[in-house]
Amino acid sequence: MTLASAPAQAGIDARRLGQIEMGDTLAARNSRLAVGDNIVVRIRRSEGSATYQDFQVPYQKWMRVLDVLNWIAENKAADLAYRWFCGSKMCGTCAVRMNGREVLACWEAAEPKMTIEPLRNLPVIRDLIVDRTAYENKVAQLEPWLERREPYPPFPEPLNHKQMKDASKALDCISCMCCYSACPVIGLGNLTDFAGPAPLVQLGQTALDPRNDPDKVKRSLQLTGIFNCVSCYKCEEVCPAGIPIVSRIIEPLKAKAAQLVPGMAKHSFALRDIVAARGRVDPGALVLRVQGLRALANMSRLIRLLVRGKINPLKTLFKIKTAATEAAGRILRAGVGK
């Protein structure tokens, strides 16, 4: 064991860009209210005549969304249903949407005007309580556990933090569902087979762990529909645990999938090959490569794309190159070999 020197914390946190300029920090939000000010709260209810119910709540020092809900339950609406256990950012059960963004009620500062709603993408049971079953089932289906290929050596086994860098980020997950609610692809419902950010983070805990059997990881990844992720970073933006979900979990998992289950990454490989060969994105070639002749079945769509100039069959046919071809080829072929 060592008393290791502290690693330097450097670099820019992309998710926080612009927050200070916009006054969007917790300290700033807290300072917008003085003790005794009235907070105007509008809560989505699931019973009664009004869908939303309004409350006036006196601001108290360092008041959080959860404190506001507790105050309302204690003083105005004893029947308000909201879930919480630990009240300190560990159990991850109190997530709600506040003014349109996902927050952990026990961690987020109250704002002068708040609309509080249940999370999206999960059925509402009552008021702010959602049914977590669909998420739980997805996680269980991915079997996010360790299967060892080698027998376990005596404690402590050989392992270093560099090997666990990404997995250890995933271990900060408190499965609060903020990302699951914010994810636009999950919002598409059954149109895709995407498992969603939260289940992927749960899987990442062991799938990005070097101790796991690659065959096991492969089986799990096949069930994720991970290439439906559009890397929009919504999940990262709302994660109360500050997990870089796209950059440190989903992207490494995609890389693993491309390596272990290349068929899943057909679209990505095709895109890369086209850009490498031609120095540009050619949607026509991409569709042909991914969908094959099936693409021709949807004639009306093809014509629409043609009219709008999105595809150019001649350029596709003759594989016309651009000035960027050489550079693109050099970068892509060297950088992503597998």
């Binding site: 064991m1 060592t2 008393l3 290791a4 502290a6 690693p7 914390q9 917790l26 807290n30 019973e47 108290q60 020092k61 360092w62 008041m63 959080r64 959860l66 404190d67 339950a73 204690e74 609406a77 004893a78 029947d79 249903a81 919480w84 256990f85 630990c86 009240g87 300190s88 950012k89 560990m90 159990c91 991850g92 059960t93 961690w107 049971i125 009552r126 269980a140 079997e143 996010p144 556990w145 360790l146 376990y152 005596p154 404690f155 402590p156 086994e157 050989p158 392992l159 270093n160 933090h161 560099k162 666990m164 997995a167 250890s168 271990l171 900060d172 499965s175 805990q205 101790r211 796991n212």
Partner: protein, 571 residues
């Protein structure tokens, strides 16, 4: 009403409950977990900041091992512990606990060179991924293990009563699913209570929403013997103001990868506690800190509910951030980290006492009823100790199971409980809401049964409890008569348990006529090893209670004085 039949039903989804379930399941015994919250996501286990290394693992010396034992027996339990159990537990932690967890995938934090990162000092600790947050990956692993082997769970389901068979043995539980409002009876050959030790009975407390002393109250109702209920631990370093931030702690224990830890400063700006200098073992400082604080309170330089400060202003931020989560609260509150200190106060934390058990089997005094983890009165909890109990109870139940019949439950009891719950849901008096009742109970416990106790204060508390029970409880008012996600209903169920548990705690506190560790009596300030190095055993006798004393075996450590001012005792 729906009845589920199984071999063993476990009440509680924390470290002890999950491990008991996993062990029983491995032996082919049908097991079901009922959890008031979500298995692995509620209760106290989630709060484990780090994991204490017991013995020679990781290059620890024989001296380290001895220190850990000394810490456990003296500083963690003030000698009110079965030392033979402690020895068995320590050996098991070393031989089984750490390897089992790591083999299953728990990540014991390494540095980039591959060394396990520990705290310095006479006792070593490690973290699961990050110090301050170890309970999260730990319990997440347990949750997944339980799911993986297919152990059935009834979650967000509160057990409201233990049910007995005609021979008097406990053979089932009455459950209410809080989300759906459905009631279920689980019939089993054995019931394991593992509801934890950190109940929210005081105005300031680390206990969470769902922790309301249900295990104590239900066990007492079926006649289980209790022990050392007065022994309550306190945190000294939790955020003072506003009280809603009270569960955010300025964790005082040694930090991983650093020689420093949080320090405490009084209202005059004088440092009065610094882990590295002021605690002989540099670990398990809660009681040592509390004593240091009591001296400040008496000198008028702090209050138990605030007026003193804690923080890391003598550390580098990078040093604290390297392996711990301790900076998160400061940053969230917009305080400058680490240079700013934060006002802190005391909160009630672990309850050291609990249900009296045979530590070889975890049997309670009632046939069919077993206990695991912090709810037991045999030792103060820690996540490793609670886990060991999960193993011991699984072994004990497995051994006893052939003798535990599957006899029918007393039907009348099921009906009575069903009617009681309906009655609570239809509470239509003109009195306070259940939440206001909870506040009232917590306020009286804080004011009259807080850190410093006296005979007069506690007797007045008993009068108030009686008044709440007889005058307020019947007039309780519930707004929502629905059954789905009706938390008012749950609060009403909790209040009844809280009142019963508080009464037992107060009576036990009156009975122990000394001060010991975190148990301060103004009218008995001495630690009295001549008369009170005993278990304070509380038995049910008819409708009343009867106290007995039981001596402890002291095979490893024994105190070196007869009587001494408790504030001058190191532990």
């Amino acid at each position: 009403m729906k009845t589920i039949t199984t071999d063993v039903v476990i009440v509680g989804g924390g470290a002890a409950g999950c491990y008991a379930a996993l062990n029983l399941n491995r032996s082919g015994i049908r097991t079901l977990i009922v959890c008031k919250g979500l298995v692995g996501k509620s209760g106290a286990s989630l709060f484990a900041g780090n994991l204490v290394i017991s013995g020679r693992l990781l290059g620890n010396t024989a001296e380290n091992a001895s220190n850990t034992a000394e810490f456990l027996i003296k500083y963690h339990n003030q000698f009110l512990i079965d030392q033979n159990w402690a020895r068995r537990c320590g050996q098991w932690i070393e031989s089984t606990y750490y390897p089992e967890l790591e083999e299953a995938g728990l990540y014991f934090r390494r540095d980039d060179a591959g060394e396990v990162v520990t705290s310095p000092g006479k006792i070593r600790s490690v973290a699961a991924n990050t110090q301050g947050n170890s309970g999260v990956p730990f319990m997440d692993l347990r949750r997944k293990q339980v799911i993986r082997v297919g152990i059935p769970r009834l979650e967000e389901t509160v057990v409201t009563a233990l049910l007995r068979k005609s021979d008097g043995a406990v053979g089932g539980v009455f459950c209410l699913n809080i989300i759906t409002g459905e009631t279920v009876v689980v019939a089993a050959r054995a019931v394991i209570l593992a509801t934890g030790y950190s109940d929210r009975l005081h105005k300031r407390s680390t206990g969470t929403r769902e922790m309301s002393a249900d295990g104590i109250a239900m066990a007492w109702r079926v006649g289980a013997t209790l022990v050392n209920m007065e022994m309550q631990w306190w945190h000294t370093n939790d955020i003072a103001d506003p009280p809603s931030w009270q569960r955010m702690q300025v964790y005082p224990n040694p930090m991983l990868g650093s020689e420093k830890s949080a320090r405490m400063v009084n209202s005059a700006g004088e440092e009065f506690f610094n882990q590295q200098q002021d605690d002989p073992l540099a670990f398990g400082p809660y009681t040592v800190q509390l004593k240091a604080l009591a001296k400040q309170v008496r000198a008028g330089k702090a209050r138990y509910d605030g007026g003193y400060f804690a923080g890391f202003d003598h550390c580098d931020a990078a040093e604290v951030d390297a392996y711990t989560t301790y900076g998160k609260t400061y940053r969230q509150l917009g305080l400058r980290f680490p240079e700013q200190l934060v006002e802190t106060a005391v909160t009630s934390h672990y309850r050291q006492g609990g249900i009296d058990v045979d530590t070889e089997t975890m049997r309670s005094s009632v046939p069919g009823l077993y206990v695991a983890g912090g709810l037991g009165g045999h030792s103060n909890g820690l996540i490793a100790l609670a886990t060991y109990d999960g193993k011991v109870v699984a072994d004990g139940v497995q051994r006893d199971l052939p003798a535990l019949g599957a006899g029918a439950l007393v039907e009348q009891d099921v009906e009575i409980e069903s009617r009681r719950l309906d009655g609570l849901r239809n509470s239509s008096g003109d009195g306070p809401t259940p939440l206001k009742m909870k506040e009232r109970v917590r306020a009286l416990m804080w004011d009259k049964v807080g850190v410093e106790k006296s005979d007069a204060g506690m007797r007045s508390a008993l009068d108030e409890i009686e008044q709440i029970r007889l005058d307020l409880l019947p007039g309780m008012r519930i707004a929502n008569r629905g059954t789905s996600a009706n938390y008012e209903w749950l609060d009403a169920i909790d209040v009844v348990n809280m009142i019963d548990a508080c009464e037992l705690i107060i009576h036990s506190s009156l009975e122990r006529k000394e001060s010991r560790g975190p148990f301060f009596r103004q009218d008995f300030p001495l630690t009295d090893n001549t008369n009170w190095l005993v278990a304070n055993v509380l038995k049910k006798s008819g409708n009343g209670m009867k106290f007995e004393q039981r001596k402890y075996d002291l095979p490893i450590f024994r105190p070196d004085f007869a009587t001494k001012d408790n504030l001058e005792v190191a532990w």
